[in-house]
């Protein structure tokens, strides 16, 4: 295979990895009936958690754990407001994004910088070559010499698919998103399912932020997710709320982003502003073409309180 093609594919995988983790988390939340508009904030919280945890303890393992925890905390906030108090899910998600943007900036300066704006650097995670497989020519270096969170992003789709489609718990989770009253009638507690799903999804989304910090740039800067959470949200819709489809959508978005750079590298006579729009234009086109025919979880966005409580 041509090395330019390999480089392009490697870039696609790198760009898609944080999107994939964010989107997998979003699927869990949306399937349970809670819009994942807060993905951007959960991701940013995860990035902050990864940077702060690693910087303060020197351990990337603690950094990863902390990114999961910070993501989950944002999930908990969204769950309390949107599920327990039945606030509008769109507004709650957007508010969570704004809250996290401000809070991470504040904590960076207040807690880590003691009033100043600190510069923090963290070590990057080394690639973990898979014994045997990494020696395969071409594909080996592309697929089997990746850092750990990249493997996680790709392989997480399989258990998630199995969970959603084949497990009893997954069935109940989908029921909470399709018809919570029916789920309640068979003894499940839709409000509880939604709460747990939102928190668990947010924890996984937080890992998407950890990828940016621990596998890509090794530092935290304000708003560093730069809209990736919203791109992940679009990928979920394009991928029809299923793990494999969403993974494919993330890879397509990653490829479009990589393409934007390569069009410039190859010197094609197109304005960079036009090229930069490509991934978003693609997302819009796909949404316009498929959006309507897709069946989104029927009860998504519809508040469902715990009948025993109210």
């Amino acid at each position: 295979m041509d090395s330019a093609v390999l480089d392009f594919l490697a870039a696609t995988i790198r760009i898609a990895t944080p999107l994939m983790l964010a989107a997998m988390g979003g699927i869990i939340s949306e399937r349970a009936g809670v819009f994942a508009v807060g993905l951007e904030g959960m991701m940013l919280a995860g990035a902050f958690g990864a940077a702060a945890g690693t910087f303060l303890t020197g351990s990337t393992a603690i950094g990863i754990a902390s990114s999961i925890g910070c993501g989950a905390l944002v999930g908990l906030t969204v769950a309390v407001v949107a599920v327990r108090f039945r606030a509008d899910q769109m507004v709650t998600g957007l508010a969570a994004n704004a809250l996290v943007a401000g809070l991470t900036s504040f904590l960076l300066r207040g807690v880590i910088g003691h009033g100043r704006t600190p510069v923090i650097h963290t070590a990057l995670l080394d690639p973990w070559p898979v014994p045997g497989l990494s020696a395969i020519p071409v594909i080996g270096s592309l697929l089997f010499q990746q850092p750990p969170l990249t493997y996680l992003a790709f392989t997480a789709t399989v258990p998630l698919y199995w969970f959603l489609v084949n497990s009893h718990a997954g069935l109940l989770l989908r029921a909470a998103g399709e018809n919570p009253a029916a789920a309640y009638s068979v003894g499940a507690n839709p409000a509880k399912i939604r709460t747990v799903a939102t928190i668990a999804g947010a924890a996984i989304t937080g890992l998407g932020g950890a990828v940016l910090v621990l596998q890509q740039v090794g530092t935290f800067s304000d708003g560093m997710t730069g809209g990736r959470g919203f791109l992940a949200l679009a990928a979920i819709i394009v991928g029809r709320w299923m793990p494999f489809g969403t993974m494919a959508a993330c890879l397509v978005f990653g490829a479009a982003e990589a393409m934007h750079l390569w069009v410039q590298v190859l010197g094609l006579p197109v304005s960079s502003y036009i090229v930069q729009m490509l991934p978003y234009l693609l997302a819009l086109a796909v949404l316009a073409a498929w959006g309507r025919s897709v069946v989104m979880p029927a009860a998504i966005g519809v508040a469902y309180g715990d009948p025993d409580r109210s």
Binding site: S3, A4, D7, A11, R14, I15, P18, S105, L108, G113, T117, P118, V119, I120, H121, L124, L212, Q216, V217, G218, T219, S221, D222, G223, M224, G226, E257, A258, L261, W262, V263, Q264, V265, L266, G267, L268, P269, S271, S272, Y273, Q276
Partner: protein, 345 residues
């Protein structure tokens, strides 16, 4: 019923009066303790970026040393430019600095409303009226040196640069001069320029650098904010040369950073602040460069007092010094066009 509601009204009235009193006392207290001169800085990003915004903050610190009371706001979005400026102007600030050419339009607008306040756009491109000025280091001069250095240090004959804000006058100056002087150093050099949409997004800058390196570039330059770190990280991982914007970036990868454009915003801001103290407002566009020896606006620096990485041969340094002199004397004139600053090859 009526009595109760009246009493409630009175209570509300009382509490509002109390709040107003409290505010008045606070205001009086703060204004009596305030310095005679106040300067505010608006930044497009965050001051920990080891790059553009950090430079601006260093400039404000210098102004503070001159006896000004100072304040700053980070991460000011385009939609908030005007409001943020008006707010500082109403609160009696004498100098309001927008630390990016992006603030120029808002400064022009708000400047007309507050004729006694000095508005300054860093890296702006024009002055307006009597109180809206722009100052900048000469992008042409220093980007030229970087282009020359990059071309001389390349073994593959291919170099690249990653930039943002395509089409802005300062960007055209910077990127165009980088390309022109690289060609001056080596006529057959291949220069590839990438524009990215977000000067603060380090992950996407890193990808941009990777794609340049994959296409054969072995020296990567750039002029980004927080995203500059992404360039340095990419160069470190792929072991190619890179140029940065602060000594802190040398520290990230001492082997790979050739030099940094160290911008002297403290020097430039201090000069402007002294003028305001002397009662002089300015509506001019001032550019500091190699041809203004008292204040050059910027300098190349690897570490304080060390201009270049030790990998740069003495012969190249001698050539660079020669180029510097010719720029200073006017023997070399760099006049970049939009075409020189184009994205791609």
């Amino acid at each position: 019923m009526i009595g109760t509601s009246q009493r409630r009204c009175k209570t509300t009235w009382c509490s509002w009066a109390f709040v107003a009193l409290a505010v008045a006392i606070t205001l009086a207290a703060s204004s009596s303790s305030a310095a005679d001169y106040k300067a505010a800085l608006l930044l497009p990003g965050s001051i920990n970026d080891q790059s553009w915004n950090a430079d601006g903050y260093a400039g404000l610190t210098k102004i503070k040393e001159l006896g000004f009371e100072t304040a700053y706001t980070e991460n000011v979005d385009a939609a908030d430019h005007v409001d943020a400026m008006r707010d500082y102007a109403r609160r009696g600030f004498n100098i309001i600095i927008g630390h990016s050419g992006r603030f120029l339009t808002a400064e022009e607008r708000v400047g007309a409303e507050f004729p006694n306040v000095q508005f300054i756009t860093a890296a702006g491109s024009a002055g307006f009226g009597k109180n809206v000025s722009s100052i900048d280091f000469n992008n042409r001069h220093f980007a030229c040196l970087i282009g020359y250095l990059a071309a001389k240090m390349s073994k593959t004959g291919k170099i690249g640069g990653v930039y943002g804000l395509e089409g802005l006058p300062t960007t055209i100056d910077h990127v165009g001069s980088f390309r022109i002087c690289a060609k001056k150093a080596r006529p057959n050099i291949q220069v590839t320029v990438l524009y990215i949409s977000d000067m603060e997004d380090a992950a996407s800058a890193k990808e941009a650098a990777f794609s340049l390196i994959a296409a054969g570039a072995d020296v990567v330059a750039g002029q980004l904010n927080a995203a500059q770190t992404g360039l340095i990280q990419a160069a470190k991982e792929k072991n190619v040369f890179v140029t940065g914007r602060s000594y802190g970036q040398t520290a990230i990868s001492p082997e790979n950073v050739l030099t940094n454009i160290i911008e002297k915003w403290p020097e430039m801001y201090a000069a402007a602040a002294e003028d305001v103290k002397a009662g002089k407002l300015s509506g001019a566009f001032r550019v500091y460069g190699l041809d203004t020896p008292d204040a050059t606006g910027a300098a190349l620096g690897y570490l304080p007092d060390v201009p270049y990485n030790k990998a740069v041969p003495a012969s190249v340094i001698a050539e660079l010094d020669d180029v510097k002199q010719q720029i200073a004397s006017g023997a070399i004139k760099i006049e970049p066009t939009r075409e020189d600053a184009r994205g791609g090859r």
